[in-house]
Symmetry: D2
Subunit: 277 residues, 4 copies
């Protein structure tokens, strides 16, 4: 008995749930969990169906396409361990949390490699026997640097890239190579404090809450589809450094939770938004 | 075009979603929103289906019973305005919040009457032209008092009773009269601080969070199915009175949200728990 | 025995706490609560001292000025009931929460009057027997409208103006008339979604949290010193209207808490920030 | 220039702040931060004064004792790195979070050793080159086991013991050996779900929030002074295992924050409560 997730994303129409679950029933698949959402403004239907049984994928997809509207997107994926490459700069907290959860429970993920534009996190990677590739951006154009990194990344064929406080902006070329497959953590509750030094911006503005946002990376800086956000309360006594220090706990927690949602196939991207089941 | 909610609660089996939504499709009903949950340990299936169209209730129920397991509970209810009677003692905040939301948006509810065992909230009821029945418990046994109250309550035929800080314990007889139809707010995050003076208990214990719990009333004090809970952070500087004062905001917010869930047919009670869709 | 609050705001120096509390001791005042904060970057010292005893205000201030640096700001204020005028447009929830708390406990405040640029909240004001002044902005310039409102407001000599969802931008002239005495609630976690229709902006951006910000009004739209912020979690299923509906609870809670802090003399404004004791 | 914290805990009296800060001023110490609290019900005064300068500890204490009431407790401690021994059973998440923060920023602490009654966390300790002492409780009485552990622990002379999911009850004898120096994390928002299997208890009760509590250990199980608590929202779809899995993030976050407060001398224990500055 295998377990898979069926993701349906199509124009809304009457009878969709009945038709889709009917196909599952005909294939003698047991529905473990079913979640649906209709965006009434755009007339779009989304469904995540967690299934158990013996799967004949091609036949299921064929049967689904027969009952669904023309332009439907259907995806039938296994819930097994996914493979990621993590990209870092200098900060350890997000990487450390993912490592702990990958090795001691909490995230069903294989960390294939870590790529850093500085080398100071190599000892942490070594502790967990994960290949660490130090690829400095020094003396390279942005495209050259990305090309060097991608040559390494590609050899691991990752399902997702996780930017665990990777502090460089990616070019549209690189992003296009991994569409909706790059997960970033931004250290503010977007869209507040887009860009550099959000904690300093927050301190200067005198806010009483700070936060973190995990999102898919698209071509516009800090503007990709948001997966998860959380905040903490702060007060006047926090310096910009205190904000950064306390923000780290939110950053790592938000990134790990977003990664878990993505790995569990709970996330559908549409337009610049996400449906999270 | 009408809007109704179909609640299904039955033994789990293969094909249930397909069969139920198939019946809806055959009746040309549009599914606005569909939520399901399976309790795997107890093998129980729950579904809430929000429907739009022309309803032939009897025919729909008949068709559903044909495809569902023997002991299924099926409920098809309109999403129109429900009627409640509110019971109070002396505190105004929960009552005030419900009144404001009933009159200015936030709760789709008709407040048929208010029953108080003290009369100090009558002026508040008068402001909104709602009948206030002062029924003192003085010199009455618990059963006599309840009987007097229920004579009044019955005349309004309410869908639900809301205990908005009604500070007396109800007898099993009274509770049995309104099964899963009495909503109470308890001023602690249950099961902590069951019984009297939870804020004083919290202060004595030196807790760093306090909370509130909205639940259906059953025969065991403070042990009915929980609908909604929330908390706030407190510190050593709060006296027991400060805890009570700050707790009021959580109490009113939790009770109003629980009431909204119940009115919207988002709540299924099973055993001593709730499924909240 | 009276209770007053001494607010000290001056350049930082050694011995300030000792000197200030020494003056209080010499005047045989009992310190109920003492809170201090030093902004090390700006070398600025802030202290709030809650005192009990017999006060000779002039003599205390004289003694303090002798021991404090030259440019110190010292304020000795009673903790008695303050007077406010509330300004509204069409929405009732913030006004309703303040009314309930003013009349039934939670805010020690006298609501002298309500001024609205629409008249639909007059019935709510009437319920609590509070003068409601309907002053339409129709056919008036912004300055003319403000002048008409201020003629009324001035007659009440309020300590503070509370903008309880007053949806018009105030001119620098009006703001200058009430420096750090106008409290506004903005329906987003500032600085996200400055300006009009923040809930629609939030919906379009696909955020997973929404919030509210209470702040003093200054000349720059939505950029005054922040007093209080809070957020709630939302998801893809919320329409812009759902965001607005659910946001109302945060708005009213944040505004009431900010007002309570201000009334309790817990807030010091400096630059574009606040110290909240 | 050194930095130290002065903790004063004494009967309340007039002029205490002035007298204490006066002594600091006379010793030419700069007050970085001053926090005070008076428990009016018990007439008890608490103050935490963070100081910078050249310290003559004996002389300062002598001067303080001259101005303070007879039974005062005065403590002048350095803010330097503290030493802890961590005790564990099988779960890695709390230990991992403390390790990451001790090595990569967030906690100013020296982890002298880890003691486990199982050996499965030895590899994690090895990664960070920290001595791991596997001391099984098998075939030993509780007292014998504790004695064996304490023989090891004592050699490190730790400032605090941290129970990072150490799942055995400690005897009063052991606890008395480290008064207010043992920090435990309990996996519920105490006092709810005292004792074994709190997540299972929570699941059976059908609660909508779960939490974690960090507290000092005293003789009564789960009843010591609470340092920090936090919660997360859950729903009907969480199994007891899901509750445990999601609770781990709160447990580790609460324990780390409590430890940080203790290390920073922000915590005063009095009776069965804490004052947290």
């Amino acid at each position: 008995m295998e377990r898979k997730v069926l993701i349906t994303d199509c124009a809304d129409a009457q009878g969709l749930i009945s038709k889709i679950t009917g196909v599952c029933f005909n294939h003698q698949l047991n529905i473990i969990k079913n979640s649906e959402f209709v965006d009434n403004q755009q007339g779009r239907f989304f469904m995540r169906t967690e299934l158990e049984g013996e799967f004949n994928d091609a036949s299921i997809i064929t049967d689904l396409n027969e009952v669904l509207p023309k332009t439907s997107h259907v995806k039938l994926v296994s819930l097994g361990t996914k493979k990621v490459v993590i990209m870092v700069t200098k900060e350890a907290h997000c990487l450390g949390d993912i490592l702990m959860k990958a090795y001691y429970g909490g995230l069903d993920v294989e960390i294939a490699a870590i790529v850093g534009n500085y080398d100071n996190l190599k000892p942490l990677a070594d502790k967990f026997d994960i290949p660490f590739h130090f690829i400095s951006h020094q003396d390279l154009t942005r495209l050259e640097h990305e090309q060097k990194m991608n040559e390494v990344i590609e050899t691991y064929a990752p399902d997702y890239l996780v930017l665990a406080k990777f502090m460089r902006i990616l070019t549209p070329e690189f992003v296009a190579y991994y569409p909706n497959r790059i997960i970033n953590i931004h250290h503010s509750f977007l869209p507040a404090f887009i860009g550099a030094s959000p904690y300093r911006q927050a301190w200067e503005r005198g806010v009483k809450i700070i936060g973190a946002t995990a999102h898919f990376v698209n071509n516009c800086l800090d503007e990709g589809p948001i997966i998860k956000q959380d905040v903490i309360h702060v007060d006047h006594s926090y310096s910009a450094e205190d904000l950064a220090k306390n923000g780290r706990d939110v950053e790592k927690s938000v990134l790990s939770k977003a990664l878990q949602l993505v790995l569990n196939e709970d996330v559908i991207v549409y337009g610049n938004k996400t449906v999270i089941f």
